[in-house]
Symmetry: C2
Subunit: 342 residues, 2 copies
């Protein structure tokens, strides 16, 4: 099962124990970005689903239907990307109250289909149900990956380098720019605003990483770097340390944060919906992998830390090299630490 | 897209036009019980999803979590059955309010996994999201079927016999027995009550029908015989007539209906959640097909009508041979006709 919202992780752990021992064809069950099933000898069928809930993930006022459809597709595409797979076919489940206009539903379908189409995937079917409550849209996406190339959360090894694709924090800052209601301000930071309104899943990068070889584990950064790194550590049975000063944050993102009176780093650690990929690779393979991915996709890989013994736990190092423990509720923790330190 | 709830059919027709022309590997897109994709040369990947919504499809008071999990799996298994396929792998999306206890979620997962397991399928992953509204549970099920054996809604031909598996009406009567609150009465009709509380998808029968050969089209009876037959007629470009006197209704179901002062037939036509399979076959093949399915599964196939020219529309014949048009809102219509006729 994907994600790591509050309480979800614990519940998934319980579900794993509830389910009967799966047959051997189920190569990856609950607990990774996607489930993976061996339906052909050399290839795995990847399966993932993610839902967006009105009032929790969106309101009809702030995100139009087409943008929401794109986001719904993007969060699922990101899970396929995190396994190194190619997205293929999706089904869409719409749960709509009577006051959701048909034009709204059409916009959602159009947006989801367009985002899937941008990455070579297709909406092939779905279901429509009515509700007296709010809108729920749920997409299930199938993909494929070569069995020998699949990247799990569980493959990280002590000494591996921690790498991240692209740049972090723009979406979180974009969200806060929009929340000010100050349009002139928001318009000065179009990259941050669009990172929030229209996250782009790293499908090509995930695929390039899988094809390049060398990576040992991968997860998408959907819940915040701290929480997703902790998932990777848990599944791999390792610890990790992150260097805050190494986080790739665009100068425009930093500038917007300054204008807002915010620090970007706590937002990156504790939330942010960056939809970048976090991966591990042995020191000896990391540079070649980074070059290869940059050549193929134009996207940089940045070293942000390393994998340590499980006993060392997970921690972050500030610019002065001071170490603090990393927790899934990293945001409050980091902020508290940051305030104390500053 | 599956199903035929009010307004859904029209919306699906619109969605079909919204989506770009699919690549050739998508053999069946929206509009059948499942989508079907050619991922291997001779086999199709089947994809279907169905959601159950609190307040609309269930209330926490009337159906326990495990029974709801079984039902959620069953409605999806029924869609795979209607294509002649084998169910394989499922992902489950849970949207839960804070007041849904963890034990409730566990019961749901356990029920869904058990029902899937009864038919050789596995829950491999899922997602958990929170909501301020009611519970929504959505399951996506993948299956497989040989390309040459897949049974679509669109294959019925003029002159074909209309056949139905098993017996009809028990679930609708079971629901009404429970609604009386009269426990002694309900306990006298355990088959009807269990048909309602725990519908059994006709996975083995669907598979036997596909393997036997001879059937030309198939759909599952989830929305009522009238509505589902009209879908089949629409997709096949044909008309149909149903003989009301031929509907297979168990004597216990009739007896319970009598006690309740109800007619079973309108309930069968206009609703009922029978989860039987409705199929068509050429006259010359129908008897052999029926024998074969009965031998393999123990379940009878009953002739309930025949396929006619599209121009003749869809109609039903009463015991005296009087003909009336069949409409998707068949229930009220039938009742009105029945009252006028009696």
């Amino acid at each position: 099962m994907s994600g790591g919202r509050a309480g979800e992780f614990e519940l998934i752990e319980r579900f794993r124990r509830l389910l009967p021992r799966p047959p051997r064809e189920i190569v990856i069950g609950p607990g990774d970005d996607c489930a993976a099933v061996a339906v052909e000898p050399d290839r795995l069928l990847l399966l993932t689903c993610d839902a967006l809930v009105e009032g929790r993930h969106f309101t009809r006022g702030t995100l139009d239907a087409e943008a929401l459809g794109r986001r719904l597709a993007a969060v699922n595409l990101s899970d396929i990307a995190a396994m190194g797979g190619e997205p293929r076919h999706a089904v869409l489940s719409l749960v709509l109250p009577p006051d959701a206009a048909e034009a709204w539903a059409e916009g959602l379908v159009r947006g989801a289909a367009a985002e899937l189409g941008d990455f070579g995937a297709w909406l092939v079917g779905g279901n429509l149900a009515s509700t007296a409550g709010g809108i729920v849209v749920d997409l299930t996406l199938c993909g494929a990956v070569e069995r020998k190339r699949v990247l799990r959360r569980s493959g990280a090894r002590v000494g591996d380098v921690l790498l991240v694709t692209g740049q972090l924090g723009a979406s979180a800052i974009g969200q806060r720019l929009l929340a000010t209601g100050n349009r002139t301000l928001a318009e000065r930071y179009p990259d941050a605003v669009s990172a929030h309104l229209r996250p782009r899943p790293r499908v090509r990068e995930g695929r390039a990483i899988a094809l390049a070889g060398g990576a040992t584990a991968m997860i998408d950064v959907s819940d915040g770097l701290a929480s997703d790194l902790l998932h990777l550590c848990h599944e791999s049975g390792v610890g990790a340390e992150i260097e805050i000063a190494a986080l790739p944050i665009a100068s425009a993102t930093r500038e917007a944060a300054r204008e807002l009176g915010l620090s970007v780093e706590p937002l990156v650690l504790g939330g942010g919906e960056d939809y970048e990929l976090l991966l591990t690779a042995p020191e000896a393979a990391a540079d070649a992998l980074g070059r290869r991915v940059r050549e193929t996709t134009g996207t940089p890989l940045t070293r942000v830390g390393r994998i340590t013994e499980a006993a060392a736990g997970a921690s972050w190092l500030d610019a002065a090299g001071r170490r603090s423990p990393l927790t899934a509720s990293g945001w409050d923790h980091f902020r508290a630490e940051g305030q104390r330190g500053s």
